[in-house]
């Protein structure tokens, strides 16, 4: 092979690898993006059925109920405008508290309950996960009635 051919072969190989990588990435992107919905959007029917998504907002005060097995919990996530009931089986993260922000990932059940597969433990010094803060801010902006215990994160602090 002449040097020129060789260089073309190299460039071809590089492009091939890049091409394969791009296909992999786009494919993985398409099937693995998890979208986020606020309780208002869920109540408005915008959230998909049969596909995993995230919901965030505040855990309503006094809504946490534990079943006898000690592991299954029910609570309500609200953005102060709409409320969505959530069911989760497992141990809740330390930062999970009534009246604080929370984000859960899971699917919408047939009865409108959100069945969480994961309640997120952000390792973050703010109590409010960003998605939850966003949901509250959106509800606030759209003129919904505000709750007194609304917590807005201190933006100056970084995460770990």
């Amino acid at each position: 092979m002449k040097p020129r051919h060789k260089r073309f072969a190299f460039i071809g190989l590089g492009l091939l690898v890049l091409g394969v990588a791009t296909v992999l990435i786009l494919n993985a992107f398409q099937s693995n993006l998890v979208f986020f919905f606020t309780p208002t959007q869920v109540a408005g029917g915008e959230a998909p059925h049969g596909r995993s998504f995230r919901i965030g907002g505040m855990v309503e005060d006094g809504s946490l109920v534990r079943e006898n097995d000690g592991l299954t919990v029910h609570f309500i996530v609200t953005d102060t405008a709409k409320r969505v009931p959530v069911t989760y089986k497992g141990i809740l993260p330390d930062l999970f508290k009534e009246g604080k922000g929370a984000v859960a990932q899971g699917q919408l059940g047939v009865d409108g309950t959100f069945v969480a597969s994961e309640v997120l433990a952000k390792h973050d010094e703010n109590y409010m996960p960003p998605e939850a803060a966003d949901a509250l801010a959106k509800a606030k902006a759209s003129g919904a009635q505000q709750s007194k215990s609304l917590v807005v994160p201190d933006g100056r602090k970084g995460s770990l």
Binding site: P3, K6, A9, F10, L13, G14, V17, L18, A21, L24, I25, N27, A28, F29, S31, N32, L33, V34, F35, F36, R54, R66, D69, G70, L71, K89, G90, I91, L92, P93, D94, L95, A121, H123, D124, E125, N126, P130, E131, A133, D134, P153, G155, R156, K157, G158, S159, L160
Partner: protein, 663 residues
């Protein structure tokens, strides 16, 4: 008074950095030796000044000086001394000071170990590092001053986030930053070479050990961060593909590519342009990582914008460093030349493929990390890119890279032949394939991923063994010990680092394949089983720590009726921030970890409990430490030690070696 001294030292350091970043570079351009000689004393002065500032901040923390805003925000009078000191890098401002401090440590090291470099090169290197330092000092002094006073002083501090009150957190950030900032040396070498237009094999030989040292620190730093997440977050996971983790992983991938590319530039004079680009990339990603983690942009893109001065500074600084160095690259790189030619199937070719794969993997991580931020910034909706994305992209890209890792070291430079390689490697391949297929069956469950993981790990080890055997056949020495000793340390370093990858892969494969976990409600005296182990819950008691109160559970673990260990997980409450923390209890072992964490208290002294059985998980971090050990071995190679000896820089290495033999 002390904080003001620290503040003043930073201002002086900025002045010195400005001098260091301008005069020596100009001097090197016009050939003025007097101007060039400014670099060394300036770098040392700057080191002393930043050391002073760092010491002052440390003193403010030790002294519980809550009239300093940063101290009041990140520590508390109840906080033990070692955590008060670790709180220096507990948040944004102090981390920047640590960053700058470590940058000056590297500068100081360059002044110590650069006697063999031409004066112009050394001046340019120190000048470029001085310019980077200017950026950080300006940032601190303008928008994030760690010495800012709080008047009137706070009666007590807001405390360090309890998650960070951990021995791992004392060491992890300095290690990570040593790695991040260490790439600034490779970067400075690259920029200096572009400025000077002399990019040759000598350049690569000089910058290689620095890059390897930085890479070792970064490897250890990432491993410690992962270990910290494992035992401190109470969820038993060791890697979450969280943006914070990705921020440290991207420079590692670029740095790994750089280490390999430098090897080609050093040995064969090839890949020069590519090596320079990787050096720029590794450092740019380090900067990006620092700012991603420390600017608050991950917490909320909009919070970032609410503090526009800081955000703007960061964007402008990144633009100048990355844009400026890439512009310089585009302008000067064509003059550097391409180096020797080589066939596609050769050691160079395989290293190139390894580089392309590593960079592609880095790009996919970058995309997954930044894409959600872009969407959010443009108000196009909130999405998250979770572990499934990274797993499904990363694994297919790494499998061929690791396969090549076995062949590359055995292939000849310039041109290798397939039949020859196949002949030398058929034994290794056969052993790997057979054991990868049968081992999972022996262990009790067969899945394709399990076999693939084991195949790759055994492939690395067997090919390394073949390589070592061939090497031993060609070195001088009568006995085996003599021969082993005469194999160069850089070769040992490569073998050890590659085997570290194998150990790491075994860890990941076995944990993914055989781990088991259980969430259970446990009454006092009740038992639960996981793996072959039986856990008996003996109730929880209240205990009081220095700055927290806790419920401490006791678990008797037994296997086949014999007691293995007793584990004491805790649920801690830190009153200052009113934060609850899970402190998992772990019984580590070479072949398995037992892991218990407390969930929530239920009625009658019962608790919800999470139990894990994690086979081989310690191999994950063990593998990382072995990799770093390999790097350390490579640096200790004779050729570098000889190069650093300043007395006889004019004598070429072979001559000196010959002279020693005569003597």
């Amino acid at each position: 008074m002390i904080p003001e001294i620290g503040h003043f030292a930073l201002i002086l350091a900025l002045c010195v950095a400005l001098v260091q970043g301008s005069l020596p570079i100009y001097g090197a351009a016009v050939g003025n030796s007097a101007l060039m000689s400014v670099a060394k004393p300036a770098a040392r002065t700057q080191f002393l000044l930043v050391l002073t500032a760092f010491g002052c901040l440390a003193y403010a923390f030790a002294d519980k000086d809550f009239s300093v805003l940063y101290v009041a925000a990140t520590s508390n009078s109840q906080l033990p001394l070692h955590y008060r000191l670790a709180a220096i890098w507990g948040a944004h401002e102090g981390s920047l000071l640590l960053w700058t401090f470590i940058l000056t440590i590297w500068m100081f090291a360059v002044t110590l170990f650069s006697a063999h470099l031409p004066e112009a090169t050394r001046s340019r290197i120190l000048g470029v590092m001085g310019l980077v330092s200017v950026g950080f000092l300006l940032f601190m002094l303008s928008v994030s001053n760690p010495f800012e006073r709080l008047i009137p002083a706070a009666p007590d501090g807001r405390d360090l986030n309890p998650l960070l009150q951990d021995p791992g957190m004392v060491i992890h950030p300095p290690m990570l930053y040593m790695g991040y900032v260490g790439f600034s040396v490779a970067f400075a070498f690259a920029i200096a070479a572009l400025l000077g237009g002399n990019l040759d094999a000598a350049w690569a030989r000089w910058s290689r050990p620095w890059t390897t040292v930085a890479w070792c620190f970064l490897t250890i730093g990432i491993a410690m961060g992962s270990g910290w997440a494992y035992y401190e977050l109470g969820w038993g996971g060791w890697w979450f593909w969280d943006p914070v983790e990705n921020a440290s992983f991207m420079p590692w991938l670029a740095g790994t590519a750089l280490v390999h590319s430098l090897a080609v530039t050093d040995k064969r004079g090839g890949f020069k342009v590519w090596t320079v680009l990787l050096a720029i990339m590794a450092f740019s990603l380090s900067l990006l990582g620092t700012f991603l983690v420390r600017s608050g942009v991950l917490t909320s893109v909009h919070a970032f914008a609410t503090d526009p001065k800081r955000g703007l500074f960061i964007l402008v600084f990144l633009a100048i460093v990355i844009g400026g160095s890439l512009a310089l690259y585009a302008w000067r790189a064509p003059k550097v030349g391409l180096g020797g030619s080589f066939a596609m199937l050769s050691r160079e070719g395989m290293l190139l493929a390894n580089n392309v794969l590593l960079v592609a993997a880095m790009g996919s991580v970058l995309l997954g990390t930044l894409y959600p931020l872009f969407l959010d910034a443009l108000d196009l909706g909130k999405i998250s890119v979770g572990p499934p994305y990274f797993d499904s992209v990363f694994v297919p890209l790494m499998v061929p890279a690791i396969f090549l890792m076995g062949i590359g070291p055995l292939a000849q430079w310039k041109k290798a032949s397939v039949p020859d390689l196949a002949k030398r490697l058929k034994w290794a391949f056969g052993v790997s394939l057979v054991s990868a297929l049968t081992l999972p069956i022996v262990l009790g469950s067969w899945t394709p991923l399990l076999s693939l993981g084991l195949l790759l790990a055994i492939w690395i080890v067997t090919t390394s063994a073949v390589g070592l055997r061939e090497r031993l056949a060609h070195v001088n020495g009568n006995s085996l010990v003599e021969r082993l000793a005469s194999v160069p340390r850089s070769y040992w370093g490569m073998l050890v680092a590659h085997c570290g990858i194998a150990v790491f892969i075994v860890g990941v494969t076995m944990v993914k394949g055989f781990e088991s976990e259980k969430d259970v409600r446990m009454n006092v005296g009740e038992t639960a089983s996981i793996g072959d182990y039986t856990f008996r819950f003996d109730g929880a008691q209240d205990v009081v720590g220095p700055n927290y109160t806790a419920a401490r559970g006791a678990f008797h673990v037994s296997r086949d009726g014999r007691e293995t260990t007793v584990l004491y997980p805790e649920k801690r409450r830190y009153p200052v921030q009113n934060q609850v923390m899970t402190e998992a209890a772990i019984d580590p072992g070479l072949l398995r970890d037992l892991y218990v964490s407390l969930g929530e208290p239920l009625d009658d002294g019962a608790w919800s409990v999470r139990l894990y059985h994690k086979p081989f998980i310690d191999w994950i971090w063990g593998g990382c430490f072995i990799m770093a050990l390999g790097g350390a071995l490579a640096i200790s190679d004779r050729r570098y030690r000889l190069a650093w000896r300043k007395q006889e820089p004019a004598v070429p290495v072979p001559t000196r070696a010959a002279r020693r033999k005569v003597a």
